[in-house]
Every structure is written in structure tokens, then in C-alpha cells.
Symmetry: C4
Subunit: 210 residues, 4 copies
């Protein structure tokens, strides 16, 4: 049996897990503050620079993933067994992210293994989102009536593709470090271009802006 | 007085607690990352192998329990005083799980006491779920109209039974460690078989999948 | 402007804070597990005995307070500025509880200062709940229609009174330690007796159980 | 596509993040309790005095920000892409607050850098709230029908202005420490005065008390 309350729980549980993961990112910073009792604050802040940077990046990344999840579920009104499990898998990758975040905070972002683990975790999140979207596209009965049959894979595929490109870049050119993540800024323009091309091909587009 | 808002709170509070417990599982991993500043990351990841494994297992176990709770409450629309307390007890076992998880992460899963505590906690969760289900079966007024009178104990009893079997196995044959948990994969097929047998016995089954 | 969404937020926010506070109780236990790498588990569990005890007690206490909050709000449908602030104060006492919990976990419960801080925090929670209830009694427009005008102070006063009795006992007779908390088990029978006496006095009681 | 569920998620996600950030404030205190095993409790409490103070202040500040967010969204019924991102930014400042809180807890509040970081974070929260409000004022279609077109910038501007005044004060007169925060108590009377002046100017005021 599937009720609307059950669907709401799926969504609320996801929100709660993401909210906790995004908030836990601050804990390692709090800990460094606890430990360095004697040191002048100015020095500590300079030392904590890279930690602050990776905190902000991870916050932005998890925030971006949440927005994507939010956007995806705006068009969904029901769930099935598969989507429950895929959603748990997606949450697993979100919950895991504070670990590589801390590794980078501690050892810097010029080590290819660390950066690959960090970006690889994000790539796993994106791929799980692709899988989730695929499940929703395959099951029009889960979609809101207004968009039924018009859901497409392209936007999440573009996002995941860009993530894999970044993953390759950080492994091949580790000196670029996390700056390769700026490549992701291309994904929104690419999604817009793809949408226009699709619209031109199909001539009529039902209201589908996020 | 019992309102729908009150029932929603019971459900939302449970979701929030489970969401936090499942997310806290990453914290000990984050801490190891903090501590081993000097060590090369590759070495750290190898060392953290067992921790990563038990993190994933505990995540999957709590996720599975949440799905069971989710499925159980899909058929419930109201609560009583007893179910509030039993639900708190269920949450206590969920909140406790990060402790034996960390014990195993630190000392490995070949020590029978640790593994028994870990699996015993899960068995306690399952038994509390059985008790919860029992309360719901006894009180048809708490069930959704569509399923009133058709709720059964068998699925949660099978789950709890399998958990107790695993508990016995890890105590008697500690060298198997957490691999005994794979026995739990039998519970879904067993539940399906039981369901079919029940359907055959009663000839008519009201829509009760998921 | 006050909407139903605004009231729901008040309730949901409270639930989230309580859920986090109740789950954080396990963290100090997780930490002891992290630290005592070499020690045999059996020994650790014996050593952790008092910690486990105070974890369970604090979990039960916060759970009990949540149930009281849940029960109180079942009869409420709206809020005002004062109740928002009182609720924040109530949450402050809940969030604070993990601190004295840890003090007791570390130094045992035979030290009167520690135990007084622990029970004093609980007393503060109870007194804030009394204040909250007082606000609701004074403002019938915040009450659900079915109970309007029948809300009473007695149950929360009994609870707070018992808490203050326990506070006096732990200070005067510290050797009793946390066992004095068992006195709280009297509060439910006392509440039932008071309710019956009130019913007899007023002859007619509108449905007001739970 | 924007649904009511999507709007509820925005609100619930914010509540969850704030709830976690406000609860995490206790963790450093819990940690000091863990570490000082041998010390008499009385001594510890005296030592922890400043920590307790800054815990309560940060709790009150985050609580106040949450109330402002709560009040702002009471008049809002829909969202757009910009408000999603601004809200994430607002949450970033809330999540960050435990870090300067801990810095002050460790090194006291007479160091201008620390105090400026602490008050600066709060100022950033206020400014993001101003931006959020600006977005809502510019988009009457996001406002509840009852208040459409009557939303104003003044209250959030006053709050942010006071915050910037405090920021200047703690930098110029560091010996005042966090006591400068008491200046914020002026913001509510100022908001009331501004409201009255506005009412006199416009002669008719639609029901707009918080």
C-alpha cells in the first residue's frame, strides 16, 4: 500500500539526512577551534583557510544536490519499492561526503587519491540521481499529471557527465586540485542549450522550467 | 485527544531520529581523517577498510529498518499511548546502534562479544518492531480502512526470527564475523513464500504488496 | 500574521531539535569506543556500565518530555509570540541536557553538584512546560475547539512539583544518586488521582484522556 | 514546476538545518565534560562559565534568526529559483556560527578578531535575510493573498543595520566584548516605532502584526 503520507516521508527523510550531513561539515572546524587554545586567532584563521574553503565547497555541493533532488521530486507524486532503495543509495553518498571533505581539509587538495575520492563521491551521487530519474521516467504513474510523459533524462545525464569529466581531470592533472570543480559551472548553460535544442526538435514544449 | 497532526508528529519524530542516527555513522570516519594528518591517504584508506565496511553495513541496516517502519506505518492512520512508548523503545535501539558499530570499527568483527552486541542490538530493533506490529494488529481502529483486519504478524516475525538466527550464528561461529548477516538476505524470499502460502490458504488477498 | 503552516513549523522545529538532542546522547559512548582500541571489549562494557545507564535514563527523560510536549500540543491549534519564545526556552533546556548527562557519565552520580545540575535541568524543562501550558490556558483562542476552556494546569504542575521534590532529594541525600528519579514514577498515578478528583468535583468531564 | 510540497520542503529543510546547528552548540561543552575526568565539578563549572555564556548567547541568536525566518515566511506561499539559493546562503551563515562560537568559548571575547568574526557571521545572516525579503517584496506573486503588496523592507533593514552597528562597536571598542550585543535589544522598539510612523504616513494599515 502506498499513501501520500508515505511519499511525504520519503521526501522528509531525505531532507532530514541532507540537512544533517550539510550541518556536520562544520564539526571538524569547530574541533580545530577547540584544540588550538593558545594560538592567536589570526594565525589560526590563516591556517584554517583551506578547511574553510573545502567547507564552503562541500556545503555548496550538497546544497546543489539537494536543489536537484528538490527539482526532480517537484514533478513526482508517488514512489515504488525501487525508488525507495535508490533514494537510500543516494543518501549514502551524501552522508559519506563529510569523510573525503575532512581528508582534503587535513591533507590539502593536491593529492590525486584524496581529490579523486572527493570528486568520485560526488560522481556517485550524480549517477544515483540519474538512476532515480531513470526509474521515474520509466514509470509515468509516479509522475505528476501535468508533466506525465514529458520527463527526460538529458538534464541529469549532463550533470553526471560533467562530474565524470571533472573526475578524469583531477586524476590526470592533480595540480589543478579542486579548481577543476569550476568546470561544473558549465552544466547549467549546457542544460539550457540542450533544452532549447530539444524544444526546437519537438516544436511544442509543455511548461517544464524547474 | 488524538489528532492527525499528533500522528504525523510521531512519524516525523521517528524519521528525524533515524535520519540523525544514520548520518552520525560517518562521524568516527571523519575523526580518523582528522587524526592521521601525516599518513599517506592510500595507506589510511586501506587501514580504514574495515571501518568503511561496517559503516556501509550499519547504514544499510538502519536504512532497512527505516523501510520496514515506513512500510508498517503505510497501513496505520492513528496511534495510542502504548504505540508512542513502543516507538520510543524502537528509536532507542536505533540510536544505540552507532555504539556497537564503532566497537566493531575499532576492534574488528571476529570478537564474539562485540559482534553479539552489534547483532543483538539489531535483534532488539526487530523485536520492538514485532511488538509495535502486534499492538497495531490488536487495535484495528488504528489501521487504515482499506486494510482493516488484514494486518498480520508473519512478516515482522520472519524478520525478527532471522535476526535471532544470525545472533546465534555469530556467537557459535565467531569466525564468520559479520558475514553471517548475509543470512538476512533470505528474509525477503521467506516473506514472499509465506505470503503466497497465506494467500493460497485464504484464497482471496486484498491488495497488500509493498 | 499566523498561518497553520507557521504552527506546523513551531511543532516540527521542536521535534527536530528534540530528535537531535536525544540522538546526540550516544556520541560520548561512541567516543569511548574509539579511544580504547587495545582493551578487551568485555572490560570496556563493564567500565562503560554507568555511561550506558545514564544514556538510557537521559533518553527516557527526553523521550518523556517529548511525549508531554506532544500531548500538550494535541489540544492546541494556534500560537502567539509568547509561546514561540517559551518554546525556544523549553528547547534550550532540552539541548542542554547532554552536558550534565556527560558530567554524570564521567564522574558518577554520587556527586551532589553534578546530580543537582542534571535534575535541575530537568526541573527547568518541567517549569518551562508549566509556563507554556499556562500561556495556552490563558488564551482559549489557541486551543482546539473540542477542548476550548477545559485545559488545566494540574497535570503539568504535578510533573514539575515531582521534579522539584527529586531535586531536593538528590541535594539532601546525594548517596541515593539518580535512583531518586524513580520517585518520578509516582507522577502518572498522581495525575490520574487528581484527574478523578477533578472529575468528581465537576461531575461532567469532556473527553480529555491522553 | 513549483508545487506546495516544494515550498514546504524549502521551509522544512531550513527548519531541520537550523535545528541541527542550534543543537550542535552543546557538543563542545559535552567534550570539555568528557576530558576533565579528574577535576572537581564545581571547578569545572566555574571554568566553563564563559563557554556556558556563549552557548546561551549563540542559542538565543540562532533562535532569534529562526523566529525572523518563521515570521517572514508566514506571509509567503511560493518560491522561485533565486529564493532557493538565497535561503541556502542564509543556512550557510547559520551552519557556520558554531565555529566562531567555539573560538570565543576557547579564547574569550576580548579579542577583536574573534568577536568580529562572530558578530560578522550574524551580520551576514541578517544581510542574507534582507536579500531574501527583497526578493519577496519584488515578487508579489510569492506573497500570501492577504498581504500581497504590503510587504516592506524596513523591519529587516533595521535588524541588519543594528547588527552592523554592533559589528563596528566590537571592532572599535573590543573591551566591551559580547556585551555590545545588548544593543540589539533596541531593534524591536525601533521596529515598532518605524511601524507606527509608517502607519501614520499611510493612514490605513492592513493587519500586519507579526
Amino acid at each position: 500500500m502506498r499513501t501520500e503520507r508515505g511519499f511525504d516521508r520519503l521526501v522528509n527523510f531525505s531532507d532530514a539526512v541532507v540537512a544533517i550531513a550539510i550541518t556536520l561539515l562544520i564539526l571538524p572546524l569547530v574541533e580545530t577551534a577547540t584544540e588550538v587554545s593558545g594560538k592567536p586567532i589570526d594565525e589560526l584563521l590563516v591556517e584554517d583557510g583551506p578547511r574553510l574553503l573545502v567547507f564552503v565547497i562541500s556545503f555548496a555541493v550538497i546544497g546543489r544536490f539537494w536543489l536537484a533532488h528538490h527539482g526532480m521530486f517537484e514533478k513526482i507524486v508517488d514512489y515504488n519499492r525501487a525508488t525507495l532503495w535508490i533514494n537510500l543509495l543516494w543518501l549514502l553518498t551524501i552522508v559519506f561526503l563529510p569523510f573525503p571533505t575532512e581528508l582534503i581539509a587535513v591533507s590539502g587538495h593536491d593529492d590525486p587519491t584524496t581529490t579523486a575520492l572527493y570528486v568520485g563521491t560526488m560522481a556517485a551521487t550524480s549517477l544515483t540521481a540519474v538512476w532515480q530519474q531513470f526509474e521515474f521516467v520509466r514509470h509515468p504513474e509516479l509522475q505528476a499529471e501535468a508533466v506525465r510523459g514529458t520527463l527526460r533524462m538529458a538534464p541529469s545525464l549532463i550533470m553526471a557527465g560533467m562530474m565524470l569529466v571533472v573526475l578524469v581531470l583531477v586524476v590526470l592533472f592533480p595540480s589543478g586540485g579542486l579548481f577543476w570543480l569550476f568546470v561544473l559551472l558549465l552544466s547549467t548553460p549546457l542544460q539550457i542549450i540542450e533544452k532549447r535544442m530539444h524544444a526546437r526538435r519537438t516544436a511544442v514544449v509543455p511548461g517544464s522550467e524547474a
